[in-house]
């Protein structure tokens, strides 16, 4: 009875043996998408692009799907890529459907829902402006805000963790100011700072400062006292205990704080750009929306998704490197 109920699950478990078929599935999906694009006629309601970028994209995907398994030698990488085959197949099918719905039959308004062709055209033709101007401006603002906020948060947290008077004065400040969403400060920041750029850096720093300070403080306060006792019996003075016992022991929680800080810094960056700073990828999206250039809006969103994804991936790489001692102790 139970066995028969679990039958579909058992089928899933057997999936690895069906790998070659799934692999074909992704290739078939790419071929299907290509066929639909070639044989179905455009509705003519979407502005045409200079080149068939979506077709180029599908051909590149197809080449990669066929060639990659042949040139990748490491069995580990091979298995990793093969495991993603289902995902690739479904993603390609969804793109094919999107292409048909927007470009071939135009079932939804062309002005808000451009074809993949048009979005790709923006990414290719507007690359210099999107990446070298807008993304660069956003990155500069984000990094300046993130690192100053993280530093301020670490200092505040360490002060709270190690000094009773600092905790007495800083804790209420954090409890009252911390929960205010950074963007709510915009009216004040716009008048208090000499430039909107400095104001935006401040807002992002504020977004990172709050969770970092709270987590660093509580991380240090939660370190077992025995570690401090042991280190003092080994001859460690106060400063040494702060930097070589307190902070390393609190590192897992500090990274939790930095991570929530990073997430809210993305949000603050976008809002700050849309409201005050007349530059950056968030501002670009807002500007293009006002001009009803939705292909550019989607292109901007794709750039944001890829860059934030890369930043978060980088963040986790750094964290895993520093918290290597936790391997096998705590699952994240």
């Amino acid at each position: 009875m139970v066995k028969s109920l679990l039958w579909p699950l058992n089928r899933l478990k057997e999936a690895p043996s069906l790998r070659p078929i799934f692999h074909h599935l992704a290739v078939w999906a790419a071929l299907l998408a290509l066929a639909l694009d070639v044989y179905l006629k455009d509705s003519g309601l979407q502005p045409p692009t200079e080149r068939p970028y979506f077709r180029y994209f599908l051909v590149l995907a197809l080449i990669w799907l066929v060639i990659a398994p042949l040139i990748v030698r490491s069995p580990e990488l091979k298995a990793k890529a093969l495991a993603k085959d289902n995902f690739y197949a479904v993603a390609l099918l969804l793109l094919a459907i999107l292409n048909v719905v927007t470009g071939k039959y135009t079932l939804i308004p062309a002005i808000f829902f451009p074809t993949p062709d048009r979005v790709l055209a923006v990414l290719v033709e507007d690359f210099n402006y999107l990446i070298l101007v807008c993304l660069y401006a956003s990155a500069k603002l984000l990094l300046a805000g993130f690192f100053s906020g993280a530093l301020a948060g670490l200092i505040t947290g360490v002060a709270i963790g190690f000094s009773k008077p600092a905790a007495y004065w800083l804790n209420p400040l954090i409890k009252i100011l911390g929960p205010i969403p950074p963007t709510a400060w915009i009216p004040i920041v716009l008048v208090a700072f000499p430039t909107t750029w400095a104001g935006a850096v401040f807002l992002i720093a504020l977004a990172v400062w709050f969770p970092t300070a709270v987590m660093t403080g509580s991380g240090i306060l939660n370190v077992q006292n025995a570690y401090f006792e042991v280190s003092s019996a080994l001859g460690a003075k106060r400063i040494y205990q702060i930097f070589l016992v307190g902070i390393p022991a609190a590192m897992p929680l500090i990274f939790n704080g930095l991570f929530s800080g990073a997430c809210s810094s993305f949000l603050t960056l976008m809002t700050a750009e849309m409201i005050g700073v007349k530059n950056g990828i968030g501002w670009y999206i807002n500007w293009q929306r006002e001009m009803l250039s939705y292909a550019n809006v989607y292109a901007g969103l794709i750039v944001i998704a890829i860059s934030f994804y890369s930043l978060i991936t980088l963040f986790f790489k750094v964290r895993d490197r520093i918290l290597v001692w936790q391997k096998g102790m705590i699952k994240w």
Partner: protein, 266 residues
């Protein structure tokens, strides 16, 4: 192998020491009352007694982690005012720093005293001493209980303290690891000849290791009697003398059982 501290160093003098703790309900608890004790240079002394007898409190006072309410504690004529590298400390839980590998755990004391650059050759030597030469790059959570405790011993010993304070160091280990570790401690002691004060509630362990055993009783914690162990080393755990000393200590602690009133007659 390890340079021995001169045997005139490591004299602990405890005079009229009492310790009063505030209880959470507002009252005061007397954990130690009027303890006098002198530990000679290079001596191995065990503090034994049931829980609440103040043996750990006394050890923490010697370590300088807590301050005595009355009385004085001195090491080589100097009043103990706080924790210092001259008094090494090993707890029941090894408390290895989990973010440092074993090498860096052992090197911690050298770095804390800012002598690492000059003395880093000691790290390998002390890892060797406790049999962990091959485990320097390993993180603490990969070690078994016995190995972790050996690393913690090496970490305390690398400072070449005058006194090593051991708070139930083998309490968390299984019986066989424990007996191995007792021999290990004796071997380390034979090589470094430092004064050792150990808290334990294992009578056999106390007799096997100590020159003198300080038997303490609770409510408030005080020294009931101090027993010299007259056996030469190495010792056997099953000689009649060993067993009779064992029953004498158990009698002092009222744990010998009631042989005068058998529960049933044959």
């Amino acid at each position: 192998m390890v340079t021995a501290a001169p045997q005139t160093e490591g004299v602990i003098a405890i005079q009229g020491v009492s310790k009063i703790f505030p209880h959470p309900d507002g009252s005061l608890v007397k954990a130690l009352a009027q303890v006098d004790l002198t530990v000679a240079a290079g001596e191995f002394v065990s503090l034994i007694g049931p829980s609440g007898c103040g043996k750990s409190t006394l050890l923490r006072l010697i370590a300088g982690l807590d301050q005595a309410t009355t009385g004085t504690l001195e090491l080589d004529g100097q009043i103990i005012r706080g924790p210092a590298a001259e008094r090494g400390l090993v707890f029941q839980n090894p408390y290895l720093f989990p973010w440092l590998n074993i090498y860096n755990n052992v090197a911690f004391g050298l770095r804390a005293r800012r002598v690492y650059k000059r003395q880093k050759h000691l790290v390998a030597r002390y890892l060797e001493l406790v049999g962990l030469a091959k485990f320097g790059l390993v993180y603490p959570h990969h070690l078994s209980g016995g190995m972790a405790q050996r690393a913690s011993l090496a970490r305390a010993l690398i400072n070449q303290p005058r006194v090593l304070l051991l708070d139930e160091p083998l309490g968390a280990l299984d019986a066989f690891t424990r007996m191995n570790m007792q021999d290990e401690i004796l071997r380390i002691r034979a090589e470094s000849l430092i004064t050792m004060v150990m808290v334990t509630h294992d009578v056999d362990e106390a007799i096997y290791l100590s020159d003198r055993i300080v038997v303490m009783t609770p409510g408030p914690g005080q020294v009931e009697s101090v027993i010299s162990v007259p056996f030469s080393r190495p010792r056997a755990r099953n000689t009649p003398d060993f067993l009779s000393l064992r029953s004498r200590i158990l009698e002092i602690l009222n744990f010998a059982g009631r042989l005068d009133e058998p529960a049933y007659q044959i």
